[in-house]
């Protein structure tokens, strides 16, 4: 059997390409040397001069000179430019180099055998000498009298002190560069160098007789027609960025020379200056204008001023998705890196999380897609990974077990599909969804009655839309369920379907396109007979469920209804298309309940007002935080409204509610239609609140306990404690063995403790 643990490399590249977080910030992209100006500014803002200096030294040749002389083309690209004025990066560099002088280490390099002749001692030539000497090449630098430095020697002392230049020259000497004075840089000197490569710096005075040989250097490699000859320093004297561009050319030429001497291609896999090109996108709408700091002394920033000026740096990142998503922020990285991790299936070492939990925790709400400039979708990434895990039998069995059990239960003992009691056909079918049935069965009935009041031939269809199977990566199971739905729907005459849940709506729309389906809110909004039922009411923060993200029609219908009801809304910016997840979707609540709690807490913290929703899952999830949450049905049917402060329905209660809803519906048909009561259904349990809380946390249902006790009673088999008389019974239900410790008195079972495990026991040996 082929064991394929990783997805294809090509797929990974496609994922990675979408996420731009690793694209360079514009300042760096605009720097001819690709110095990380963002990191530099961040370090200066933290008053960390040594770190800032290290960044300069990393990117610049002869940093003591370059940092002083650089004309800072990066400033043109600075995003702060539109928000008060570009960061004075050049000024910050000069301040840094002034306050934190370089301490050069002696380098011991294994010398290479090939020799290089550098002609001229302008910035580009000095750079070539610097870069190649540090690689171990023996360099002879031919300069014009009296001393090396060319026009740098004529720069005023306040801008470039003579001593600094001399120290850099001394440093080059310590690297083994031999300085030779020649009368003129001409053809004879260059021909006679006796070296394996020759560089001629045009930023120094060059004799006329070289003109022909220096013609037409390659734009990228700076190679000349003559093999082994290179040039640079081509900027004219009035070029705005003459110095730094010449330096950059010297650097590029040095790369070419190094490759040439090694016999390697001059062009393959070569990183060229980006000239400001970058795909990094930074959202700036939340950034306020800050004006540049003007130094008190014209000569430059003081240390404090530099810190303040650097503090204006926006720290351009993308991280748009991470900014808005608790799940992404929790794992401390960004989508491109996540894609790599998911594909390598490596463990993420942060709080000993495993990659599998990471993959299973995404709520699939697709908010990141909206924020990402390239529509990166964590949902697609995680769903694909989950489906692959299931296909290759690597999905931990307990990961989604409970949600799938709930789905099965809603699809069996909670399921029915009928025409209206008086009718033999349906012009439409009402599908309330299993979660609403689980928490508000009487409101579902009332809603159904309202729909029948509009159109008598409204059928009813109780089931689970199989979203849990889809979210769990069980593609095959999900497909079978959809097929079954299609068949059932056909048997009912293929009428349009009305759902009360946005998730059900999405599942049907995306997977059963032949089935016309609308939300019940859209249907109700068309009914103009609604009157304001509310007196004065405080404004509520309306949160749209994540599955309504791209369903403008339903969202607007809800708002129409609320206006008709006279309900005022409090401001909640992250709603509509950018709405936030409640932690239920994608089975996040199953995979990582602690994370789901954080997510939902962050949501309720976004408004002081009480919340309002039209999704059953959102209602109960948000209410877990203690925040009062109203469901739209509470406003539509105030006489059977639940209190906004009501605690979420327990897992056990949901099962009971679904069964009771089915029962109530069936009561409207002939008495023979009543389902038989399950044999254990009427076992009477006494469960103290603390015990009930533990049951819920451990995902043990009262129905599970009833079944265990029923079997114990049938077989008359249980354990008894010799002293207390407490009893223990156990039974295997599906994939889990449940244990109950209890006392029985007059047919009532008082539950003391419950626990479960998945391992099976095989008798005594």
């Amino acid at each position: 059997m082929l064991y394929r643990e990783n997805m294809e490399q090509k797929e990974l590249r496609e994922w990675e390409a979408r996420c731009i977080q690793e694209e360079p910030p514009l300042c760096r992209a605009g720097c001819p040397l690709a110095v990380d100006a963002r990191a530099f500014s961040q370090a200066m803002a933290k008053d960390n001069l040594s770190a800032a200096l290290a960044i300069l030294e990393k990117g610049m040749p002869l940093a003591a000179v370059t940092a002083r002389m650089c004309e800072a083309p990066c400033e043109e690209y600075c995003v702060r430019g539109n928000l008060g004025g570009a960061i004075a990066i050049g000024g910050l560099e000069r301040t840094c180099i002034r306050l934190a002088p370089i301490k050069r280490k002696r380098l011991l390099l294994p010398p290479k055998s090939k020799k290089v002749a550098v002609f001229g001692s302008g910035p580009s030539s000095l750079t070539v000498a610097f870069d190649l000497a540090r690689k171990g090449y023996p360099i002879t630098l031919f300069h014009l009298p009296p001393a090396p430095g060319s026009w740098l020697r004529d720069v005023q002392e306040s801008d470039l002190p003579q001593q600094v230049l001399e120290e850099e020259i001394k440093y080059l000497e310590s690297l083994g560069v031999r300085f030779c004075s020649i009368a003129a840089i001409g053809k004879a000197a260059c021909d006679g160098s006796g070296c394996d490569a020759v560089y001629i710096g045009r930023d120094d005075e060059v004799a006329e007789d070289l003109a022909e040989l220096l013609a037409g250097p390659d734009e990228q490699t700076f190679a000349l027609a003559r093999s082994g000859w290179f040039t640079g320093g081509l900027c004219s004297q009035d070029h705005v960025y003459r110095f730094i561009t010449d330096i950059s050319q010297g650097r590029q030429a040095a790369v070419s020379i190094d490759r040439f001497l090694q016999g390697a291609s001059l062009t393959a896999s070569r990183v060229l200056p980006r000239k400001g090109r970058s795909n990094l996108f930074t959202e700036t709408s939340h950034i306020s204008v800050r004006l540049p700091i003007v130094p008190a002394d014209a000569a430059g920033f003081s240390r404090e001023e530099a810190v303040e000026e650097a503090g204006r740096c926006i720290d351009c990142q993308c991280l748009e998705c991470v900014r808005h998503c608790v799940y992404l922020a929790e794992y401390g990285s960004y989508p491109k890196a996540y894609a790599r991790r998911v594909y390598n299936n490596s463990a993420i070492v942060k709080g000993v999380h495993q990659a599998n939990t990471f993959i299973n925790s995404c709520s699939l709400c697709r908010q990141c897609e909206v924020f990402c400039p390239n529509d990166f979708s964590m949902a697609d990434l995680c769903l694909t990974a989950r489906e692959l895990m299931v296909l290759e039998k690597r999905m931990p069995p307990s990961a989604h077990w409970f949600a799938l059990e709930e789905m099965n239960s809603a699809g069996n003992e909670g399921a029915l599909i009928r025409h209206a009691p008086v009718a033999k056909a349906s012009s439409r079918l009402f599908f309330p969804g299993c979660q609403l049935a689980g928490i508000r069965p009487e409101q579902v009935l009332r809603l159904y009655d309202s729909l029948c009041g509009q159109v008598p031939e409204t059928g009813i269809w109780l089931d689970c839309c199989a979203a849990p199977a889809h979210w769990a990566g069980e593609a095959e199971l999900f497909a079978r369920k959809m097929k079954r739905f299609s068949t059932l729907w056909g048997e009912m005459g293929s009428p349009p379907v009305i759902t009360a849940c946005s998730s059900c709506l999405k599942m049907f729309r995306e997977n059963l396109p032949e089935m016309p389906v609308r939300s019940v809110w859209e249907v109700l909004a068309e009914d103009s007979s609604l009157q304001p039922t509310l007196e004065s009411s405080a404004p509520l923060a309306l949160t749209d469920p994540c599955t309504s993200r791209h369903d403008e029609v339903t969202r607007n219908s809800v708002r129409t209804l609320l206006t008709a009801l006279g309900q005022r809304l409090a401001s909640l910016p992250m709603s509509g298309e950018v709405t936030e997840c409640c932690g239920f979707g994608g089975l996040m609540e199953n995979a990582d309940p602690a994370l789901a709690r954080k997510v939902v807490q962050a949501r309720v913290d976004q408004s002081e007002a009480d919340f309002l929703t039209y999704c059953a899952m959102c209602r109960d999830q948000l209410a877990k935080t203690g925040k009062p949450v109203v469901h739209l049905l509470d406003l539509l049917f105030p006489d059977i409204a639940h209190p906004a402060s009501e605690q979420p329905a327990s897992l056990s209660l949901r099962r009971v509610n679904r069964r009771q809803l089915k029962s109530s519906v069936l009561k409207r048909y002939s008495p023979q239609e009543q389902p038989d009561m399950l044999p254990w259904e009427d076992l009477s349990l006494a469960v103290a609140p603390e015990v009930a809380a533990v049951l819920d946390k451990r995902r043990i249902l009262e129905d599970d306990i009833r079944q265990v006790l029923y079997r114990a009673r049938q077989r008359d088999a249980y354990l008894v404690h010799g002293k207390t008389g407490n009893r223990i019974a156990s039974a295997r239900l599906g994939e889990v063995t449940f244990w109950v410790e209890y006392r029985e008195k007059q047919d009532v079972f008082r539950i003391l403790r419950c626990w479960s495990h998945r391992m099976t026991i095989t008798g005594e040996q």
């Binding site: 599998n356 404690h721 010799g722 026991i761």
Partner: protein, 69 residues
């Protein structure tokens, strides 16, 4: 390798058999792995007692380890 997980309180009787549970070797299975452990067992009908501590402690950790969670 036999591991013993006898609870501190061993005072449990098997109701149908009317006898106290005794230490005995039991096989626990999960995902193709078998572990022999010593637990309280009924000598007559082989009923086993798995304590809450064991189920929610070591058994749970082993289940998750084997699942690669």
């Amino acid at each position: 390798m036999s591991l013993s997980f006898l609870p501190k309180d061993m005072n449990w009787l098997c109701r149908p058999c009317g006898v106290p549970l005794e230490p005995g070797i039991v096989e626990l299975r999960y995902l193709g792995n078998v572990f022999k452990v010593e637990l309280l067992v009924c000598p007559k009908c082989s009923a086993v007692l798995i304590s809450e501590d064991l189920a929610l402690g070591r058994m749970l950790e082993v289940e998750q380890l084997l699942e690669d969670k």
